[in-house]
Amino acid sequence: MRINLNIWRQAGPDKPGSFVAYVAEHVSPDMSFLEMLDVVNEGLIAKADDPIAFDSDCREGICGTCGFLINGLAHGPMRGTTVCQLHMRSFKDGDTLVLEPWRARAFPIVKDLVVDRSAFDRIIQAGGYTSINVGGARDANAILIGQSTAEQAMDSAACIGCGACVAACKNASAALFTSAKVSHLALLPQGQVERYGRVVKMVARHDAEGFGSCSNEGECEAVCPKEISITNIARMNREYLKATLLKGR
């Protein structure tokens, strides 16, 4: 296959950027999308040109490092899939694809398709944990947790922190990311002690980082490679409301 690429190139955070056209030749349908870009980069390096910067690590869809927009869709056209697990058989010979980095004020561009997602770490830092020191934990079976509760918590905890939800949102909101962690811990008995303090702190940090508000479009859920549901956002809102009502008690 032959694929035409229009890729956003930007040398650094404060440098101007633009789309540059490339052609990927001899693309095999069994290649992953990133392997196709590897081949394009090999060609650039051989010509002593600066290769296209994009992030990736595990290449099996779990680390959350990779991600960019393909024709406006975060992680490309396949549902429930990170771009590293997207294969070229999803495209046709002669297709033209436009690749852009995640665009959000809270995710400044580092270079080309790489953005700075450290704001996500700071949201977790604000309260996305149970305050348990090593050493004092009681026996793991001392608290029973129903299977459906554990499964629901796992559904929320499956978030890989890739940032696609922010990229897809017209408000660049990180509500899906934040609510996934709020939900995971609010559902489990271990998360109860800090339940209301946590949601308030995490939402405050979310806003301070410059993410927008959620207006319930559902674009985030549609692109989420782990298919995290917007039910989490509803739960976060409920938790937040309860926390506000319970304030001072």
Binding site: M31, D57, T81, H87, D121, I124, Y129, A137, L144, G161
Partner: protein, 637 residues
């Protein structure tokens, strides 16, 4: 030089308690005066950072990723072992200890392995308290499954994402300490040198991967939690950024590299499809609980699997190992897959694959049960291969997965360089010559949560620290040697990409230092590696700006290190003429083709001392003593 493992005296079950009591402590008020540098944020690094931060040490944590949550521990699928005996099926600390030391083919230290088995139970408690959503039974108790090579159900799991959930638990605990100010996080940093001053590890030189700036960081102890070296083989199940650089550069500063030839080849990976391939994807071995492994009885049988009748299939693991069947340990399963393919009975286009078939399990349990157990793995397989494993058997083949070798450490997890501690996959200590499934997560977390808080205190509390700041000559010298190495990479200006050179090294290692090794192949590899290294330094191309994000420059530096490390790997494999665990020497096998150990000559840890690039390293031996278990020929028949 004699290697002292500092194994405590006393009965096996009391060693760790006695050692903890004998260890020095650091007063809570003094802890913040000690700076501990932790490199890597996988299970070992993140758990060490959070537990040392909680204790009040001043922790500086470094990772090559944009966020500590991305470390490759996140990709572990299957589970984590613990001797909880929740299933009432005969498990105990002693049994987990015994299984692990036997699984490692009697090439690890009894005391270390016993401590690991003891601590396994605390890990599960800690993780549940953090909110790790392990699988549950209907009554609300934790669920367990049996996993690669164990006859009890002791594996805890969170779907096929156990590593992810455990890592996020450790990461969240660490971020809590970042918020409290005890841990300072330095993402996008690659450690490029260890600073040794006055005989002590006192800091690191790292490169800021976004700006290219070299940074000096000083401290009182350095903890390397930087993972294994499987990516030396180019194609592996490791993440593409995993590398040997931090460990190798520490080795060049004096830390001994132990047992590099112990590499684990995982039996159930998706086979290679072409030269463009950048990595191999693991299919969790939990699949072997319900899948049956087979190949056609006939050579060169190209019929589709569904058209091969039952009596023309060879379920070779069930045939050869009736008591363990498809659940034999990884090294045995991998070697058998290779031998049936070598016989010309491999399947798929390349002939380098075997079937892993779920049709019986689907008939017996129904599609829904199988989907609940393995749905995410089946989806992943389908995405990559475009084949539906509910209808067609999976095609699988072994791939490099984990490395049991690593920097030599004593019982305190300290290397022979005072102050340099090595945790998790980066050290060599607990898995011997072969790691059992679901034991890597256990070791990483045991090291970080429960071992290092005691042993690092013992080191800090019992050591005098002369004033060494970042202006010390040792820092200056280390930084200029790092700069010189980067300049050298940029100066080559050839035409080969680091990937091309890396792929060639990987092919060479896979062919000659792979699943089965012999003296001729290893000697050939030892001749070819230096030639390839020379080519690298003549033909490499690194375009772009060194003072900016330059992934190609990072990669080139790592490939340069693989090319030095590979020689020690091959040399270790050549010197160990016995077969043990993941190290199979063709010359040393039983009449029916199983690995044959040579306890008389090789019951020791081989720790190599760096003597210069291209110069033969010096071998130091740490003899292994077995007081409690009697090394026997492993048998899974």
């Amino acid at each position: 030089m004699t290697l002292d493992s500092r194994t405590p005296s006393g009965p096996l079950a009391e060693k760790w308690d006695r050692h903890k009591f004998a260890s020095k402590l650091v007063n809570p008020a003094n802890r913040r005066k000690y700076t501990v540098i932790i490199v890597g944020t996988g299970l070992a690094g993140a758990s060490a950072a959070s537990s040392l931060g909680e204790l009040g040490y001043n922790v500086k944590s470094f990772c090559i990723h944009d966020s500590p949550r991305r470390a490759h521990s996140i990709a572990a699928q299957g589970g984590i072992n613990a001797a909880k005996n929740y299933q009432n099926d005969g498990d105990s600390v002693y049994r987990l200890f015994y299984d692990t030391i036997k699984g490692g083919d009697y090439r690890s230290r009894e005391a270390n392995v016993y401590r690991l088995a003891q601590l396994s139970v605390n890990i599960i408690d800690q993780c549940v308290a953090q909110g790790v959503p392990f699988a549950r039974e209907y009554g609300g108790l934790l669920d367990n499954r049996s996993f690669g090579g164990a006859q009890v159900s002791r594996t805890f799991y969170a779907r096929g994402q156990t590593g992810q959930q455990l890592l996020l638990g450790a990461y969240q605990s660490m971020m809590r300490q970042v918020e409290r100010g005890t841990v300072a996080m330095f993402p996008n940093r690659e450690m490029l040198d260890l600073v040794v001053a006055g005989g002590q590890a006192r800091g690191i030189i790292c490169r800021n991967l976004l700006t290219g700036a070299l940074e000096r960081h000083d401290g009182h102890a350095v903890l390397l939690c930087t993972g294994g070296y499987g990516t030396a083989y180019y194609l592996s199940t490791n993440a593409v950024n995993s590398n040997v650089t931090a460990a190798w550069r520490a080795h060049k500063r004096g830390a001994f590299f132990a047992n590099p030839c112990y590499t684990q080849i995982h039996p159930t990976c998706i086979p290679v499809s072409g030269t463009h391939q950048s990595k191999l994807t693991l299919m969790s071995e939990s699949l072997r609980n319900d899948g049956r492994v087979w190949v056609p009885k006939k050579q060169g049988d190209t019929r589709p699997p569904t058209q091969i009748p039952e009596d023309e299939r060879d379920y070779y693991l069930e045939r050869k190992y009736p008591s363990f069947g498809n659940l034999v340990p990884r090294d045995v399963a991998s070697r058998n897959a290779k031998s049936v393919c070598d016989e010309g009975r491999g399947v798929g286009e390349s002939g380098l694959a075997v079937y892993l078939d779920f049709s019986d399990a689907i008939k017996r349990l129904g599609r829904e049960v199988i989907a609940a157990r393995y749905g995410n793995l089946f989806d992943m397989y389908r995405k990559i291969t475009d084949e539906n494993p509910y209808e067609l058997p999976m095609r699988i083949y072994p791939a490099i997965h984990y490395t049991m070798g690593g920097l030599w450490v004593d019982y305190n997890l300290m290397s022979n360089v005072p102050g340099l501690h090595v945790l998790g996959e980066a050290n060599f200590s607990d898995h011997g010559a072969n790691r059992l499934g679901a034991s890597a997560l256990m070791q990483g977390l045991a090291d970080g949560y429960f071992v290092i808080p005691y042993t690092v205190a013992n080191y800090l509390g019992g050591t005098q620290f002369p004033a060494v700041g970042i202006d010390h000559d040792a820092f200056r010298e280390a930084e200029s040697s790092v700069q010189a190495r980067i300049d050298k990479l940029l100066a080559v200006k050839g035409h080969d990409t680091p990937r091309q050179l890396h792929r060639r090294l990987g092919q060479l290692l896979w062919d000659d230092v792979g699943m089965a090794r012999d003296a001729a192949g290893l000697t050939k590899a030892l001749a070819e590696i230096p030639r390839l290294r020379d080519e690298f330094w003549q033909n490499l191309s690194v375009p772009g700006d060194p003072n900016n994000l330059n992934k190609n420059l990072e990669y080139a530096g790592r490939v340069a290190d693989y090319l030095e490390f590979a020689e020690t790997l091959a040399l270790d494999a050549l010197h160990r003429t016995e077969s043990c665990g993941g190290h199979f020497r063709e010359e040393s096998q039983t009449p029916d083709g199983e690995a044959r150990r040579d306890d008389e000559h090789f019951s020791y840890v081989a720790a190599w001392e760096f003597k210069g690039v291209g110069v033969k390293p010096e071998l130091h031996q740490e003899p292994l003593h077995f007081e409690y278990v009697k090394p026997t020929q492993r048998s899974y028949k």
